[in-house]
């Protein structure tokens, strides 16, 4: 008996050793990002979650780097004259990770689940979807309540789940009646997708490890990653050490400028600048004194030293022009841009009702603890505001706590420094997720703007099917918002990633280097099938040491 135990242990050790050395030379891509990450498509909405679901699940249409959509699970589609009915013809023989075939009823189920749970990207679909039905196993029809111009672009956020598998993993005691918890608990750490990768192990707060799905319907390049691991940290020293030990292929983009300068000196490491359509905001609470006063907000908008942010804190960024990034289709290039002008700032401040009692109204400014560079911006705003006599308290808060406190207007602080990316590649996405009342209480809108007029304008614009007309409406909304000044529009920010240029080919980085557009849909620049890994080159670098 004893012998057996000893030999079993020995075998286990050898296996472990073999596995460890194999894992080391496998085609793995590892990247870092701030936790939390939700791989449940009905909850996923932030950056790391979007990256994860894009690789684990499939969608009907797929976003290209040029900002268009191409057939994916849907081979073709038809749109009715009035723009209210979309019929999609599905690809046959697409398999889920458990081997079952993807059918029209799975699409229906996925949409219903998303709308019922009402989190994540559901707000895009909630106001427009009337009904989804499966006409047969491979035909699905969406009936809209009203025309929605960017519907096809929005569909890149409908991730298709395996109905049977989700139903098999429902916890009966849940908030969704007959559906129990709708599989929320199980889907927190498992996937029910058909995407090119499937979850191997998900450790909350630590990492997500996914491996290639061997039966994926679309053949992947042999040099595409065989697995990827997303590591939940942005701690600068850790990220840097991992990079130099070649245990990390792509860094997160939340590092300070000093980090990029230092790691670009490591052999084989390069820094990619991707303008992904994200804009850096200083969001202001529009329902809490003193930032509820438009003149107070404008005074701040005129006081900020935008050049210092765009050139010194985030080298390579551009001062934002309104709430929509300059690379997004539908951006208004003529909208007013606030510049630093202390005289104008004082003039605006004197018009505000808090002008002579600034001492009584200190302003809390929250920055995200995981992004060290935000502290620089926070202190800059503090210094700029001090020139006007406004006291700003700078508060460092972890991302998870920010998400919690912005849920109600009472717990939301005056100002937050937050990066926001569009969910689909059009100005409308940004305008809706940033300023429509439906996004109040999420981290994307801590303004609590709740302007019925603006809501109507946004709804009207995205319901416009004609592209030119829609874009004209987008431009008008941007003017309206800039005049309202609900947030400080700081910069259009390139996401800076340090990556192992010597042993991986990263399509998005190469496109950016050639000056071409990168994917404006958040998460899709990390689409693993578009990456190539060469482990033997990695070995080469390791041997040199």
């Amino acid at each position: 008996m004893k012998k057996l135990v000893v030999s079993m242990t020995l075998v286990a050790c050898i296996l472990l050793f073999v596995w460890a050395s194999w894992a080391d030379s496998s085609k793995i891509v590892r990247f870092t990002e701030a936790w939390p990450t939700y791989i449940d498509p009905a909850i996923a909405a932030d950056f790391s979650s979007s990256v994860s679901v894009a690789n684990l699940y499939d969608t009907l249409v797929f976003p290209t780097y040029d900002g268009e959509v191409v057939p994916h699970l849907a081979e073709s589609w038809e749109v009715s004259e009035d723009g209210l009915t979309y019929t999609f013809y599905l690809r046959k023989g697409v398999k889920f990770h458990n081997g079952e075939e993807l059918k029209a009823e799975d699409v229906v189920f996925s949409m219903e689940r998303l709308l019922t749970i009402g989190q994540g990207y559901s707000y895009i679909f909630k106001p427009i979807i009337e009904k989804v039905e499966a006409l047969d196993d491979y035909t699905v029809r969406f009936q809209l309540k009203k025309p929605f111009g960017p519907f096809l672009y929005a569909l890149v956020r409908l991730y298709i789940l395996n109905k049977d598998e989700v139903l098999a993993h429902i916890e009966p005691t849940g908030e969704y009646g007959a559906m129990g918890d709708y599989g929320k608990k199980w889907l927190l750490t498992h996937d029910a997708g058909s995407g090119p990768y499937m979850v191997q192990e998900m450790r909350l707060e630590e990492y997500l490890h996914a491996v290639r799905f061997p039966e994926y319907w679309k053949p992947l390049d042999p040099d595409a990653p065989s697995e990827f691991k997303y590591i939940g940290t942005t701690e600068t020293a850790t990220v840097r050490t991992l990079l130099s030990k070649r245990e990390l292929e792509i860094s997160d983009f939340r590092q300070p400028a000093e980090f990029y300068e230092a790691v670009s000196k490591i052999e084989g490491v390069k820094v990619a600048k991707l303008f992904g359509g994200s804009t850096f905001f200083c969001m202001m609470h529009n329902r809490k004194p003193p930032t509820d006063d438009v003149h107070f907000r404008k005074a701040l908008a005129y006081a900020i030293d935008y050049d210092a942010i765009a050139n010194q804190i985030f080298p390579g960024a551009r001062q934002a022009q309104g709430p929509v990034s300059f690379i997004l289709p539908g951006h208004n290039p003529e909208v007013y841009q606030y510049r630093r002008d202390l005289e104008k700032a004082r003039e605006e401040l004197s018009k505000s009702r808090y002008a002579d009692k600034l001492d009584e109204y200190p302003v809390d400014l929250v920055w995200c603890a995981e992004v060290p560079d935000e502290e620089k911006v926070a202190l800059l705003i503090q210094a700029n505001a001090a020139e006007l006599g406004i006291t700003v308290n700078v508060i460092k808060t972890p991302w998870m706590k920010i998400i919690e406190e912005v849920a109600t207007p009472e717990t939301t602080a005056h100002m937050y420094l937050i990066f926001v990316s569009p969910h689909y590649a059009e100005a409308g996405s940004m305008l809706q997720s940033k300023y429509h009342s439906s996004s109040c209480g999420t981290w994307e809108q801590t303004e609590w703007l709740q302007d019925p007029e603006l809501d109507k304008m946004i709804e009207d614009a995205i319901a416009t099917v004609d592209k030119e007309e829609r874009f004209a409406k987008y431009r008008k909304i941007q003017e309206y918002i800039v005049d309202l000044c609900p947030s400080l529009f700081l910069i259009d920010q390139p996401e800076n990633y340090a990556y192992q240029d010597y042993y991986i080919d990263w399509t998005a980085a190469e496109r950016a280097e050639r000056g071409e557009k990168v994917n404006p849909v958040m998460g899709y620049n990390h689409y693993m099938p578009d990456i190539r890994v060469y482990p033997e080159k990695r070995e080469e670098l390791l041997k040199k040491k």
Binding site: E258, A262, A308, Q312, Q382, A383, A386, N393, I395
Partner: protein
């Protein structure tokens, strides 16, 4: 008469050159802290000020300790940080010593009565929690700022004085002078504060000087994790933490504040040893 006594003290104190070094260091730090606005080359850098054009400059004549990632002069900020550090030490001791000593006297004098049991068991409870953990817990519940950091450190520090004085009071209560005072009907207040306390003063004073360095160190630890003075006000712990992200390229951002912490603690420890020597020689 007084002068010669002072002279004798000084003679004893200065027999150990290290004590003098400690005194000089402490005097220097106190001077820098009080006159920070005049001593610091860029006093405005301790307030809401940023200048990203001057960020991360290595030590030079214009910035002897270099500049941090916000373009602020590290030397000026160190001078201003001395203020909050010293304030922390002084205020904490000013709270902790009277409270701790009084409780210790009471418990020690009324040994084996319910007062003793009540006070000492509470003291034991506080002593059983690791001090830094307790302070961290308190500051994270309250709003992080200097006042709350001082409250937190005070809460964890008083039991040590209670313990110290308790030990001394329990032995002193059996001395003849205390018993004589009791016999002639002196008030409890008189016995506690006029008979017993003066005999503890030398030990308490020595502990205070030694503690000053430790309190400042704990304060720096709290500000290192972001629970002390809030930006832009400088604190030594915060400065070390900020700079740690940029090691080793921009070493000066955290190394100099780190050295400053070392200097303060060293200074007060040497001074404390000197004062301890002074009293032990006095008694000998």
């Amino acid at each position: 008469m007084r002068r010669t006594r002072l002279g004798r003290w000084w003679y004893k104190f200065s027999r150990n050159p290290l004590s003098v070094v400690g005194l000089v260091i402490v005097a220097f730090i106190v001077f820098c802290a009080i006159f920070a606005p005049w001593v610091a080359p860029y006093p405005e850098h301790a307030g809401p000020y940023v200048n990203y054009g001057e960020a991360n400059k290595p030590p030079s004549l214009t910035h002897p300790f270099g500049t941090d990632v916000f373009g602020r002069d590290v030397l000026s900020r160190v001078f201003f940080a001395f203020r909050s550090s010293l304030l922390m030490g002084v205020v904490v001791l000013a709270i902790v010593v009277p409270v701790g000593v009084t409780l210790g006297l009471l418990a020690g004098y009324f040994k084996e009565s319910w007062i003793d049991i009540l006070i000492m068991r509470i003291t034991d409870i506080f002593l059983s929690v690791p001090p830094l953990i307790l302070a961290l817990a308190i500051t994270s519940v309250l709003k992080p700022n200097l006042t709350n950091a001082m409250i937190a450190v005070s809460v964890m520090w008083w039991p040590w004085y209670t313990r110290l004085v308790y030990g001394m009071a329990t032995s002193l209560r059996n001395e003849y002078f205390v018993q004589s005072a009791e016999l002639i009907g002196a008030s409890k207040f008189h016995i506690l504060f006029r008979e017993i306390l003066p005999n503890c003063v030398s030990t308490i004073l020595t502990k205070m000087t030694l503690d000053m360095g430790w309190v400042i160190l704990i304060g720096a630890a709290l500000s290192f994790v972001g629970l002390g003075e809030q930006p832009p006000k400088p604190a030594l712990g915060t400065m070390v933490a900020d700079g740690a992200k940029y090691l080793p390229e921009y070493w000066w951002i955290s190394v100099f504040p780190g050295l400053a912490i070392m200097l303060i603690v060293l200074g007060f420890n040497l001074l404390g040893d000197g004062i301890g020597d002074l009293f032990s020689l006095e008694e000998a």
